[in-house]
């Protein structure tokens, strides 16, 4: 009689599938923060609504669309872009403040950390939302809004038997879009340190994230002014807030949103830009370090 030794067969493991943690981390951010695209879409809708009313008003008193009126309409295109950009900026600020705080507050960080996604991937995905995704999204929304405005104006002219060729040929759209894309890239890179700072505060503060983000820099300015009578920190911050435009365009004169005034070489060789990006990297590295250690609130 032979004895058989029962051995359990080695269970077959599922072969690992290819994954895209960075891509899905960004998708996850957009699922959670729908205001990132709803807010600029709402801003676009508001602008378009105003523009439509303006067009109808124009239609009633229009004998001919003179040059002045046409440039008036172009001004609206810039305004639409500005409104959408400002909305995105605000949406971006609130996104950054919540990005690393919300997951600790609702304890979902324990769920995210139970998956094979590193803290570096997570923080980089969150940082790329204001630095890459929002500017691109903003550009698409701005161009779409301006196209709709152009079509509305075209329809208006055609309804009155006036040729709309001038609007399309002389029209500012293609050059303007390029300028706007450049503007968005300049802003995203120039404001990157602020995004990094907000993410860092979001990852470290237990509560009152908004106050932690804005009061300490203010306090430093106040201390410097009262203690030494100087305003270096304030000047530095103001330069970081407003200086990007001077670096990126040759002139600040009226009508500066012309293609010829773009100066990407000077902007990219500006030490201030690279100092800012280095600061951003330091902030983000600290945010990664913090995410590894921080517990749910």
């Amino acid at each position: 009689m032979t004895t058989q030794v029962d051995t359990l067969p080695e269970p077959v493991r599922t072969p690992p599938r290819a994954t895209r943690p960075f891509y899905w981390s960004i998708r996850r951010e957009l699922w959670e923060n729908r205001s990132l695209y709803i807010a600029p879409l709402a801003a676009a809708a508001v602008t378009l609504f105003g523009f439509a009313i303006g067009d109808i008003w124009l239609l009633r008193r229009m004998s001919a669309l003179d040059q002045e009126r046409r440039s008036f309409a172009v001004g609206h295109y810039d305004l639409a872009a500005l409104v959408i950009m400002l909305t995105m900026l605000l949406a971006g600020v609130f996104y950054c403040l919540g990005a690393l705080h919300g997951e600790r507050r609702d304890r979902s960080i324990l769920f995210w950390k139970s998956l094979p996604v590193s803290d570096l991937t997570t923080v980089l995905a969150k940082a790329s939302v204001p630095l890459v995704i929002l500017p691109l999204l903003g550009f698409i929304i701005i161009v779409a809004t301006q196209l709709i405005m152009l079509m509305m104006s075209t329809a208006l002219l055609l309804l009155n038997g006036i040729s709309a060729t001038a609007l399309w040929v002389e029209g500012p759209l293609s050059a303007m879009s390029l300028v706007q894309l450049y503007c968005l890239a300049v802003l995203a890179l120039w404001y990157a340190p602020f995004g990094g700072w907000l993410l860092l505060v979001s990852g470290s503060a237990r509560r009152a994230v908004f106050l932690w983000a804005f009061l300490p820099p203010l306090a430093v300015c106040v201390i410097e002014k009262t203690a030494f009578g100087t305003t270096n920190v304030a000047a530095f911050l103001i330069h970081r807030l407003a200086g990007g435009y001077d670096e990126a365009f040759t002139t600040r004169a009226e009508g500066a949103s012309q293609l010829a005034t773009l100066d990407p070489v000077r902007y990219l060789s500006s030490p201030d830009l690279w100092i800012g990006l280095a600061i951003t990297a330091a902030f983000l590295a600290t945010a990664v370090w913090l995410r590894r250690r921080r517990e749910p609130i």
């Binding site: 599922t14 899905w24 699922w31 979902s108 139970s114 094979p116 996604v117």
Partner: protein, 291 residues
Amino acid sequence: MACIEARGLRKSFGATIALDGIDLRVEEGRILGLIGPNGAGKSTALNAILGLTSYQGTLKVLGRDPWTERDQLMCDVCFIADVAVMPRWMRVSQALDYVAGVHPRFDRAKAEGFLAKTIIKRSSKIRELSKGMVTQLHLALVMAIDAKLLVLDEPTLGLDLLYRKQFYDTLLNDYFDGSRTIVVTTHQVEEIQDILTDVMFLNRGRIVLDCSMADFETRYVEVMARPEHVAAARALKPLHERQVFGRSILLFDRADRDQLAGFGEVRTPSIADLFVAMIGGQAAETQGAAP
């Protein structure tokens, strides 16, 4: 290779010592129950194993250092904390998409199969699900992952009886296959007594009991002594004595069963009985409770 191996694992928060240098070895294919009063260090130990907290001493989980290699480790380790950690804004379909997108060992069809047995809709947001349903969802996600170690920290907290029973039944029938390792902490000890292969008691950051269930059943014995034999039973130095309906129940470690049988009805104590016997007195001191 042991699934979990710790030597001198220590963690303190300021002056509070959460883990006081514990040694721990969990072999592959075991189901370990980690039992302890509140603040005993259970969660800290689990957090260390999961790479969620730093520690002193050495700790290897599946051969990796959890603190420095958490993301790689999570390819082979799954974790269910209590029910509140699934993100409330997420839709069920998004949870499936996301886990499928980031986890190399997730079998989406399997997860869909588990979900089909529940009434959870793909389009529901997690905030719209009941506590029990969120746990079902999390369990469906976790069971569809071909992991080597599953860590459960109070997984059935706040669930009703039916969900709790179903949770462990599903886990045993559809998941555990003898090669996976499960570590579970819970206060509802009686629910897991029958599924454990090993039990460990933790109190004030130290391990006070570490034995297999087979050892448990041979080592510990309880006798409901008839009144005339109580004094004789006490002479054998029981670990603990309690009164039920006026009868004395005495719990012994490594006693002679035949001898005890002469005093009254003999049986194997439950884990909960032994827990109270070993830790009840000490815990009452620390918690300042009346005896």
